[in-house]
Symmetry: C2
C-alpha cells in the first residue's frame, strides 16, 4: 500500500470513529500503518516523531485504544505495547484473538494475525472472557 493511500485511509478511519482529524493523530497512526504487523511502545513513537509532546502521545494512544483502532499486548517488562486492530474491531469491542510474538534478540513485537489463540479447558467455576498468548523466542529476521 502506498504512502498516500495510507494517509487517505487514516483520515477516513478517524472520521469513521467520530474523531477529529488532527495532525498529531495522523502522524501517530501513520507510524502504525507503515509497518502493519509491528507493535510500538510510547517510547518508539516519541523517538520517531521527535518533537511531539509526551502527553499528546499518551492521550492519542488511549483514544485509539478505546475507539478500536489499536489493541494492547501484555508483556513482562512494565511498558505498554500497541498494535493496529483488524477492521472487525470497533469502539469498546475488540476482536483480537491472535497470538503475539516477542523476539528476545531484536526486541520486535509482532501480531501473528493468522494464528488464533487456542482454546483451553478451565477448571470448574472459572469463566473466561479474554485469552492472551505471547510467545517469545527469535523472529524470522534474527534466525537467518
Amino acid at each position: 500500500m502506498s504512502d498516500t493511500n495510507n494517509i487517505d485511509k487514516i483520515g477516513q478511519l478517524l472520521r469513521q470513529g467520530g474523531m477529529s482529524v488532527t495532525e498529531k493523530r495522523v502522524q501517530i497512526l501513520h507510524l502504525f500503518f507503515a509497518q502493519p504487523g509491528n507493535a510500538l511502545r510510547h517510547a518508539d513513537i516519541e523517538q520517531q516523531l521527535g518533537s511531539m509532546d509526551r502527553v499528546t502521545i499518551y492521550r492519542t494512544l488511549h483514544t485509539f485504544l478505546e475507539k478500536g483502532l489499536l489493541h494492547t499486548i501484555p508483556n513482562a517488562d512494565g511498558t505498554a505495547m500497541y498494535a493496529l486492530c483488524k477492521d472487525e474491531c470497533h469502539e469498546g469491542h475488540h476482536h483480537d484473538d491472535h497470538v503475539h510474538f516477542l523476539c528476545s534478540q531484536c526486541g520486535v513485537t509482532i501480531c501473528l494475525d493468522g494464528i488464533v489463540v487456542p482454546q483451553v479447558k478451565l477448571p470448574q467455576g472459572y469463566a473466561a472472557r479474554q485469552m492472551e498468548m505471547v510467545i517469545s523466542g527469535t523472529c524470522q529476521t534474527c534466525n537467518i
Copy 2:
C-alpha cells in the same frame, strides 16, 4: 500444610539456593506459601508486611526470581506479578508452562498449575522459546 511446616520448608529452600536465611526473606516467602496458587504484586507485599522497606522487597523478589523460587506473570497493567515456582525450577532455569488466570472482578491472579499452555504452530522462520498464556474473566469465588 501447617504454618510451622511452611517456616521449616522456607529456611530449607533458602539454604538450598545458597541464600542466607534472613528475617525479611522468610517473611516475604511466607506470604507466598500462605496461599500457594496466588500471585502477589510488590504493593501487596508492602501492604501485608507493613513496616518493610520498599527497596528490600524489590531486591528480595529479584533474588527469588533468579534463584528459581518465583516466576513472573505478564499482565496488561504495568505492574509485575510474582508467584511460587514448582520444585522443578532452579537457578536461571524455569519450568513454568502453566496457564494464568486473572479475575477482572476481584483482581486475583492465579496459577492454574494443572493446565499446560497448548502448543501452537508458528509461521516458518520463528523459533519459540517460551510461551505465556493469560486468561482473564471471573474466578470461582466471583462466579458463585
